[in-house]
């Protein structure tokens, strides 16, 4: 039993450490709280949203369909041309966007980290093959690739996530490979080999913890990139039609042709995208300073 509670304390310590790293500078601190805010909204979205998102709303005073109303007490962010409540939509969209960002971000860092570690550690023909694959992916234009994947597999949210993850991993793979090559030359790796450690053990127990700061940095980057990609794809109409995301809201606005009139419609999703992505980049910066202390000295 004491071992179990020790482990819990260990996990808490690690989390506390991550918090310390993220909030080590002002931008990181801002980023952390903005991200925390969006995550909380995403978590409690159904509780916060006052109306169902795909249901026409009626004006409480006049009893008429609330078409394209500007923000009021009844509808804090106004309504769409079909009378949908925008505040409810943006809250629910937060949930979709955060989920897509997190899942794609994690899948892509998984792919990137493993490919980077394996290519860097084994070297030779394996490295050559994996890195050329990465190069091919670099040759692909970002959005068309996602769009083609989505149109091939369909506009389901699973495929959107997968399509994004399949392209976002490339940079993390390259960077982690480079770091792995440097770390595998260190003496403690030879020492591990002399103790009879298997290759996989050396990769995941000895090298991985040493590339961790870099890995966290790229996790944060990948989440940000996933969110941007999702917004772009949704804005072009390649999102999942059954769920709503920030990009999807902008797409609806574009379809309605009311872009010039309904400032309350395009401003919130746009601000949310920029705020969340910028905050994630701020967090990345904090990790970057941690992973590369030389950046700190230049201040």
């Amino acid at each position: 039993m004491p071992e179990k509670s020790n482990r819990l304390i260990g996990i808490l310590k690690v989390l506390h450490r991550q918090y310390k790293i993220m909030t080590s500078n002002t931008y990181g601190l801002i980023g952390f709280w903005v991200v925390a805010f969006f995550f909380t909204v995403a978590l409690f979205a159904p509780v916060i949203a006052p109306y169902p998102i795909w249901e026409m709303q009626f004006d409480a005073e006049t009893g008429q369909l609330a078409m394209l109303q500007s923000p009021s007490l009844q509808f804090p962010l106004g309504t769409t041309h079909l009378g949908y409540d925008l505040f409810s939509q943006i809250v629910m969209a937060t949930r979709t966007t955060v989920m897509i960002g997190l899942i794609s971000g994690f899948i892509s860092i998984m792919i990137g980290a493993n490919i980077g570690l394996i290519a860097g550690y084994y070297g030779g023909i394996i490295d050559e093959f994996l890195m050329r694959c990465t190069d091919v992916l670099y040759g692909m234009p970002f959005l068309p690739f996602v769009i083609i994947l989505i149109s091939l597999f369909g506009r389901k949210i699973e495929f959107v996530i997968l399509a994004i993850a399949l392209i976002v991993w490339r940079t993390s793979a390259r960077v982690i490979r480079a770091q792995t090559i440097s770390i595998k030359q260190r003496q403690f790796v030879t020492a591990a080999r002399a103790r009879g450690c298997s290759n996989l053990r050396i990769i995941y127990r000895h090298i991985l913890p040493n590339v961790l700061p870099l890995l966290l940095l790229y996790t944060s980057f990948n989440i940000a990139w996933s969110i941007v990609t999702e917004a772009s794809a949704s804005f072009l109409g390649f999102g999942d039609g059954d769920t709503i995301s920030w990009g999807g809201m902008l797409y609806e606005l574009w379809l309605s042709g009311k872009t010039r009139v309904a400032w309350w419609w395009f401003l919130p999703p746009a601000v949310c995208i920029v705020a969340l992505v910028t905050s994630l980049v701020f967090i990345s910066r904090a990790y970057e300073e941690y992973a590369n202390p030389r950046l700190r000295e230049t201040r």
Partner: protein
């Protein structure tokens, strides 16, 4: 007999050329022995270790008539089995620059515990106790268990590496330059620790160093390497009393002795050979003041000059005369 190596060779392929790092190397190691290997930089010491542990880099190849460890042929064993059954269980390595051989992101104690658990199925608690014992036997305080490697001094890290090597009671511990980079007092303490460990565990040790003074203090038997092979192997006492190879004579000249203060040291002129091909001649011949035409024509086979004294020199019959001459500076400079 613990380890019997016959005619070991290691060559590295570099830019289309072969470098013969180890050539025609043979030696035997008994149980309960401390075998010191000395030689200057580039003589093949590290390649020898790598060959024994099968850690030679990808561009290197190892050949041997036999590398027999407790009746098992090490080089013929499947790599997987070798890794699991031999490495660390039977033969442990304390690597060169042990300072950097601990993973910087793990605490020292848990690092050893984890290594033990993976090799031997044993509960964590038991492994922890084992590490506490190990720490004690190498002279580290138990409180250091939960420290990171960067909190250790060089000597402490060296001790931790020795503790790690001891963890599974290996039969043979190979140490690559165990005292290099440590100050003299710490060196002395480490040597004392090693000697005590040998008394306690009865394991054999193979210690590689370029410091012949350290060897004289700890080794029971010394092998002198030159040109990728042993030119002389003898019990420590015999080696210093009766050096039989001209290189050994030169080597003992080149180290200061506390009894003969102020005496000028004599160094061996020239530099070690770069071994591009296997030649049928004595590798030391170009630097040897006693070389004859014969030395240029045939490789000196190992011959016994005493019970345990093996020399690879064609002129070993004249060794007493040569040893006397080798003490004079003029012999080496002319």
């Amino acid at each position: 007999m613990l380890l019997d190596v016959k005619n070991l060779g290691v060559r590295y392929r570099m830019d289309g050329q072969d470098i013969h790092a180890v050539n025609r190397l043979s030696f035997q190691l008994e149980e309960d022995e401390i075998f010191g290997v000395v030689g200057e930089s580039g003589c093949g010491k590290s390649s020898l270790i790598k060959a024994l542990l099968r850690l030679v880099a990808r561009n290197g190849s190892v050949t041997a008539d036999s590398v027999n460890f407790q009746g098992q042929e090490l080089l013929e064993m499947p790599m997987d089995q070798f890794r699991k059954d031999i490495l660390w269980q039977k033969i442990a390595l304390v690597p060169q620059s042990a300072m950097n051989s601990l993973n910087p992101v793990y605490k020292v104690g848990p690092q050893i515990v984890e290594a033990i658990i993976t090799h031997k199925k044993m509960p964590e608690r038991q492994a922890r106790e084992r590490v506490h014992d190990l720490f004690e036997s190498v002279g580290l305080q138990k409180e250091l268990f939960d420290s990171y490697p960067h909190q250790f001094s060089g000597g402490m890290r060296q001790r931790a590496m020795i503790a790690m090597a001891l963890a599974l009671d290996p039969k043979l511990i190979i140490m690559d330059e165990p005292t290099t980079g440590l100050d003299v007092l710490v060196q002395d303490k480490i040597l004392k620790t090693l000697r005590r460990i040998k008394e306690d565990t009865k394991c054999s040790m193979m210690i590689i160093s370029h410091d012949i003074a350290i060897m004289s203090e700890i080794a029971t038997k010394i092998g002198v390497m030159y040109g990728g092979g042993f030119v002389e192997i003898a019990p420590t006492h015999d080696l210093f009393k009766d050096p039989s190879h001209p290189y050994t004579m030169g080597l003992t000249n080149a180290f200061p002795s506390i009894r003969e203060l102020g005496k000028e040291l004599i160094s061996i002129p020239g530099s070690p050979p770069v071994m591009m091909r296997e030649e049928n001649k004595c590798w030391f011949e170009p630097r040897c003041p006693f070389a004859t035409d014969q030395c240029r024509q045939s490789f000196p086979e190992a011959t016994k000059t005493g019970d345990h004294h093996i020399v690879s020199c064609l002129r070993s019959a004249d060794r007493q005369k040569l040893a006397k001459k080798a003490k004079e500076k003029a012999t080496w400079t002319s």
